[in-house]
Structure formats: structure tokens, C-alpha cells
Symmetry: C2
Subunit: 107 residues, 2 copies
């Protein structure tokens, strides 16, 4: 039996906070730790572990920089991350497309 598409979704990306991180990085070249933290309502510890996981997958690159004497953590998406995210979005689209909005109510 053919498996359902849902189970082929990337574990690294599908988690809500990481989906948020990847979405933000897909839309902007670079984003900063505190921006993610506020935008995604995460604690320092939670955000750190999500970023670490994505870095380990080589989906993002993290660098530290001093801006106005304050240390900042800056993140960027890698080419590998972009490819993985595109594949993820395509799979998600396929799942969604199997339920066209007009037909949802009549099923």
C-alpha cells in the first residue's frame, strides 16, 4: 500500500517553531535571534535548541557578531536548507490540494 504523504514530510522542518524559523529565513536573507524569539513566542532555550537542530542538518548557518557592542546571533538559510524547504512546501501543497476549498464543505 502506498504510504500517505504526511509521513514523508521532513521531521526537521515540520515542527511548528522550526517551520516558523525556516519561513522567516526563506523570506529574508538574514534574521536575528531576538526577532525569532518574539515572532515565534519562544524562550531562549527552546529557540536555541531549534536553531541548533537546523544547523546540524546544515539547513541554516549561524554566526555571532557584535552590533553596537552587543553580541548578536544571526542566521541564514543555506542552499541545502532552501532545497529541503522547497521540497517540504511541495509535499504540503500536494496534501492541501487534495482538499480543494470549494469541495471541503460538500464532502
Amino acid at each position: 500500500m502506498e504510504k500517505h504523504l504526511a509521513i514523508s514530510l521532513s521531521k526537521a522542518i515540520h515542527q511548528k517553531a522550526r517551520l516558523g524559523i525556516m519561513s522567516i529565513l526563506m523570506a529574508s536573507e538574514e534574521a536575528e535571534f531576538n526577532y525569532f524569539k518574539e515572532k515565534l513566542n519562544l524562550t531562549d532555550g527552546n529557540l536555541s535548541s531549534h536553531l541548533s537542530l537546523l544547523e546540524k542538518e546544515k539547513y541554516i548557518r549561524i554566526r555571532k557578531k557584535f552590533i553596537k557592542k552587543k553580541p548578536k546571533t544571526l542566521c541564514r538559510m543555506t542552499e541545502k536548507g532552501r532545497q529541503a524547504f522547497e521540497e517540504y512546501l511541495e509535499n504540503l501543497e500536494k496534501i492541501i490540494r487534495s482538499f480543494p476549498p470549494d469541495e471541503r464543505r460538500s464532502k
Copy 2:
């Protein structure tokens, strides 16, 4: 700061196996335990706990029935489940729509 849409996705539905369960029930009136199990590559224990969680949320209804003398576990989506799933799909669509396929590569 406005929060990212990703964090408003339903926890109960977003988990991969449960997304699969809800997708299957959205497409078919009723589905059976072993069908989910195969289609979603789950163990009995895992599938049971995902079904229980969805039942607790009142998103699905579970009933036991004897078919050819064998006990079967049958699941259906409730109206509450359908509404929650539709809302989930709409949020997901909004996230995906912020990355139109044509523009993904040029960003």
C-alpha cells in the same frame, strides 16, 4: 510584534501522523485502524495514542464493531474535527502562499 502564523497551527493536527489521520478521514467517511496503521507506518501503540488524542479533542469518533467475527476499530471525523481541520488547512495555505513557486528560486 505580530506573531508568525506557524505558531498558531493546531498542535493536535499538525503532528505528522495526526495530520495523516485527519487527511484520510477528511477524504473518506470512515476508516479502519489497520488502514491507518499501514498507510501511516505506525505501530499499534503509536496509532492508538494519536487516535485517543484526536478523540479527546472531539475531532474524531471511534467505535468498535465485529466484522466477519473480527473486532474492528472504525473512525469518523466529527463536525468539530472538520472545522478544526479546515481552519488548519487555511492557515497552512497562508504560509505556503507567502512563497509562490515561481518566486521561490529567485529569492
